[in-house]
Symmetry: C2
Subunit: 322 residues, 2 copies
C-alpha cells in the first residue's frame, strides 16, 4: 500500500516522543521552532546508523529505532547534558507500515523515557539508514569534555562493557547460542544511555567520553584529548556474569576492551575528588568501576596479571584499513 512521504511522517512520527511546552512548532512545517531556557547552553550531537554497518540486516525495527536515539543520547550523557529534542532523518527502501510502526515504537519509548520530543524529520527513499540529531541543555560552562583529564586522574567505566559485542556476535551467529544469550543480545539491541550518571558527573569528573567504538579506543581518545596516556588494568574490568558464562574470562576481557557498541561512559576523576565521587555518586548505586589511571606517557596500555598485554587492534574504526 503506497503511502505518501507526507502521510508517513504524519502518521508515525507526529507525537511519537514526549510532549514539551517548549516546542513552539514541531513536526510538519519547514523547520521546528523551540524555546531554549535562558540559563543553559545548547548541546547538539548527530549520529548515523547504516544497515549492514551499525546493525545486521533484518534487525528488529524496534531495536533500530531505539539504538538510533540511544547512541545520540549517549553523546549528550558524555557531556553531562540533559536532552530535550530530536530530529530524525530516515532513509528506507520502502515504506512498510509494520516496520515503521515498530521503529516508531522503539524510538518513541526511549524518547518518552527521557522527556525528548521529536520535533522534525525527513523521510527519503534509499538504502536503510537512520540519522538522528539530538539537542539538549547544559548549565553554562559546565559541559564535560574529553580533554579535561590530567596525569594521575582515576579512570572509570559505567556498566559492563563487552556485553553488547557478545550480543552482536550472537545476533550474527558468530557465537553459539547459550543460556545467557538473551541478556547479552538485549545489551546490543537496546543499549542504555547513561544520562542520569552524566548529569551527576558534571561537577565531579575531569573528563568524559561515551564508549561506542570500544573501551580501549575511546579511553585512548579521552587520554589523547587530555594530553595524557592511559593505563588500564585487565583484572579490574567489570565483566558481567552472562558475558563470563558465554565466553570465559580471557575472551570477555577482549570484548570489554575492543568490542564496541556499549554506550557506557568512560570518565576520569582527580585524586582529590575521589572521596566526593564515592559519597555523592556511590558506585554500588550508579554501577561504575575504576579500571585504570591517566599517565604522562602518551598511548594506551593494558596491564594483565603478568605484565602489559599485546593489543592487536585499538577498536573499531569505520574507515581504518579501507
Amino acid at each position: 500500500m503506497p503511502l505518501s512521504e507526507f502521510e508517513l511522517i504524519e502518521r508515525y512520527f507526529r507525537g511519537c516522543g514526549s510532549r514539551r511546552e517548549d516546542v513552539i512548532i514541531g513536526v510538519g512545517d519547514d523547520a521546528a521552532v523551540l524555546r531554549c531556557p535562558a540559563d543553559a547552553q545548547l548541546a547538539a550531537a548527530v549520529d548515523t546508523l547504516v544497515e549492514g554497518v551499525h546493525f545486521p540486516r533484518d534487525s528488529p525495527a524496534q531495536s533500530i529505532g531505539h539504538r538510533a536515539l540511544a547512541v545520540n543520547l549517549s553523546d549528550l550523557a558524555a557531556m553531562g547534558a540533559r536532552p530535550s529534542w530530536a530530529l530524525l532523518a530516515l532513509t528506507l527502501a520502502e515504506a512498510e507500515e509494520r516496520w515503521l510502526a515498530e521503529f516508531a515504537a522503539g524510538l518513541g519509548a526511549l524518547a518518552r523515557a527521557h522527556g525528548v520530543a521529536l520535533v522534525g524529520g525527513d523521510t527519503t527513499r534509499g538504502p536503510l539508514s537512520v540519522t538522528i540529531t539530538v539537542l539538549g541543555h547544559v548549565p553554562p560552562g559546565r559541559a564535560l569534555r574529553r580533554g579535561g583529564g590530567a596525569p594521575g586522574d582515576a579512570v572509570f567505566v559505567s556498566g559492563t562493557p563487552g556485553d553488547a559485542a557478545a550480543g552482536l556476535a550472537l545476533e550474527q551467529g558468530r557465537l553459539p547460542a547459550c543460556e545467557q544469550a538473551e541478556r547479552l543480545r538485549r545489551r546490543f539491541l537496546f543499549p542504555t544511555p547513561r544520562l542520569a550518571l552524566g548529569e551527576r558527573l558534571r561537577e565531579l569528573a575531569s573528563a568524559c567520553i561515551d564508549v561506542s567504538d570500544g573501551l580501549l579506543s575511546d579511553a585512548s581518545k579521552l587520554a589523547r584529548a587530555s594530553g595524557c596516556g592511559v593505563e588500564l588494568m585487565a583484572a579490574a574490568l567489570p565483566l558481567s556474569a552472562p558475558l563470563l558464562g558465554a565466553v570465559g574470562t580471557s575472551r570477555a576481557r577482549e570484548l570489554a576492551l575492543l568490542g564496541g557498541d556499549d554506550y557506557e561512559l568512560c570518565f576520569t576523576v582527580r585524586p582529590n575528588a575521589l572521596e566526593r565521587l564515592t559519597s555523592e555518586v556511590p558506585a554500588a548505586e550508579w554501577g561504575y568501576t575504576r579500571i585504570g589511571t591517566l599517565q604522562e606517557q602518551p598511548g594506551a596500555r593494558v596491564l594483565g596479571e603478568h605484565g602489559p598485554l599485546e593489543i592487536s587492534s585499538s577498536g573499531y574504526d569505520h574507515f581504518a584499513g579501507a
Copy 2:
C-alpha cells in the same frame, strides 16, 4: 590511502564553515556546546540527500556539499530564521581524499557566505548519503508558518522556478545540450537559499514554504495547512529566458509547476499588506512574482489562457506510487 574516521573529520571538516564566538565546543567532542541568544527562539531543520534519489550518481562533490546545506538553509529561510550552526552526517562508500576536499569546499563556501559554523559531524561507511541539521534563530513568536494564509491572500514565488528541473534533465541527458545549458545546470547544482528574503518577509507574509518538491505541490501544502485552496495563473509564472530558450513556453510552465529542486520561497500576503510589501521589499530588487491567490475552495488549480489546466501529477513525492 586509508584514513581513520577521526583523521577524516579532523582534516576536512574542522573549520570548514564560519568561526563563531557562540560555539563553546565545536567538532571533535561527543557533542557541540553552543550559546543561544537570549532574545530568540531556536529553529531546527534536517534534510537528507541520497545519491541516485536527490542527485545523479557521479554528481560533482562540490555541488553535493553545497546542495546538502542549501536545502536545509532553504527550510530556515521559509521560517524567516537566520542560520547559525550545522551538523553533518556523511555516509560514503570510501574515504577518497579528493572527493572529500571538493565536498568540503562546496559545503564550506555556502556556510561561510551565511555565517554558519559546522559544529558537529559523523562519518560512516555506506551508500553515499548526506544528512545535515541546521540550527538558527528567529525572534520569539515571529517564525513564518505554512498555516498562516487565508482566502484572498496573494500568492508569490521568488526566483524563476523550473530552472533547476531543466538543469537536472540536462545533467541526466534527458534534455539535449543547448546554449542555456550551463546556467540551468548551475541552478540545479548550486541552488540559492533565500535567507535574506525570508527574514524580510517575517513581518509581511501571512504564510511561507520553500519550494523543494515542485511549486504546485508546495503551494498546495501551504494552502492545505492554511485551511484554503489555491489558484495559480499559468501566464503569471516567472519563467527565465534560459528556460524558455531551452524548452519553450508550454514545457517551461510544466517544469515551473511540477519540477522541484528550486529552493525558492512560495509565500502569501494579506491584501492589506500588499502595499507595504511593494514599498519595503520591492519585487524588482528582491526578485519575486505574484502567481495566484488563496481561495476558500480546497485544492489546487492552475488557470491557463483558456480555462483550468489539467495537472497530471502534483509534484515529486519520494514514496508516491511505491
